[in-house]
């Protein structure tokens, strides 16, 4: 198993840097294009959720990418307000256009792109693990 770890704050600048860090590791892993994109989506959406909704209490985020023979795991841990993304209801944009609401699509994308999603609240931290299955 290979593991990469990054600690960051919830600032926009650091979230952008973290997304680029994920991109670099994904390139190193030489994953299929669809899995690379899926990882990128989940990293972006999980981090954006923290940035937008974790509240002023969010100060620390831990990112961990782990490569196993049959999967890659993206673990995101933050000390913001509790939010179980795995239990959140995914929603697609409403129709017709007059009824369309622009928000909430991040959860849909996370649920679409992660092959498996796990969540744990430690009592003071959110832990989300998104799994991406690899063909063997």
């Amino acid at each position: 198993m290979q593991t990469w770890h990054k600690a960051l704050s919830g600032s926009l600048a650091e979230i952008t840097t973290a997304a680029q860090w994920v991109d670099e590791i994904v390139s190193e892993l030489e994953l299929p294009a669809d899995k690379s994109y899926a990882l990128r989506v989940c990293a972006e959406e999980l981090l954006t959720n923290i940035f937008r909704h974790a509240g002023a209490s969010s100060r620390k985020i831990d990112l961990r990418l782990s490569r196993f023979p049959d999967r890659v795991e993206l673990a995101v841990e933050d000390d913001g307000q509790p939010f179980d993304v795995s239990a959140a209801t995914p929603r697609r944009v409403d129709r017709p256009i007059e009824n369309a609401q622009p928000g909430g699509l991040g959860v849909q994308l996370i649920h679409t792109y992660a092959d498996r999603l796990r969540y744990n609240w430690t009592g003071c931290k959110n832990q989300v693990i998104a799994e991406f299955t690899l063909q063997q």
Partner: protein, 111 residues
């Protein structure tokens, strides 16, 4: 993220985007989309050089499409890369925003 705006004929404005429409890219272009949706009737947005689209970028497209629709106009997305198109469809945006494979098809949708 780069955004080029070209005013065309008959109330159609062409927008060419390039780069990653992640949180940073989307926040950069969102104000310009708000502005152009007020001054234009129809927008054709070329996505051929957009490598990534996050939900915050989709938010910009939805708001733009609604603003144009409210005055009888339309937003059309053109030539998305395969993964970007998959993302648009997974969020259901293709149900309210037409996706065209090229500019000619996009123009045909506006006639």
């Amino acid at each position: 993220m780069k955004m080029e705006i070209v005013n065309g004929e008959n109330g159609i404005t062409n927008v060419v985007l390039a780069g990653s429409m992640d949180i940073t890219g989307a926040l950069e272009v969102d104000p310009r989309f708000k502005e152009v949706s007020q001054t234009s009737d129809n927008l054709i947005v070329d996505l051929a050089n957009v490598s990534f689209l996050a939900s915050i970028g989709m938010r910009t497209f939805v708001m733009t499409a609604k603003a144009l629709s409210a005055k009888g106009g339309q937003l059309i997305l053109v030539k998305p890369q395969a993964e970007v198109e998959k993302a648009l469809k997974s969020a259901g945006l293709d149900a309210i925003i037409p996706i065209a494979s090229d500019s000619s098809s996009a123009l045909a949708l506006l006639r």
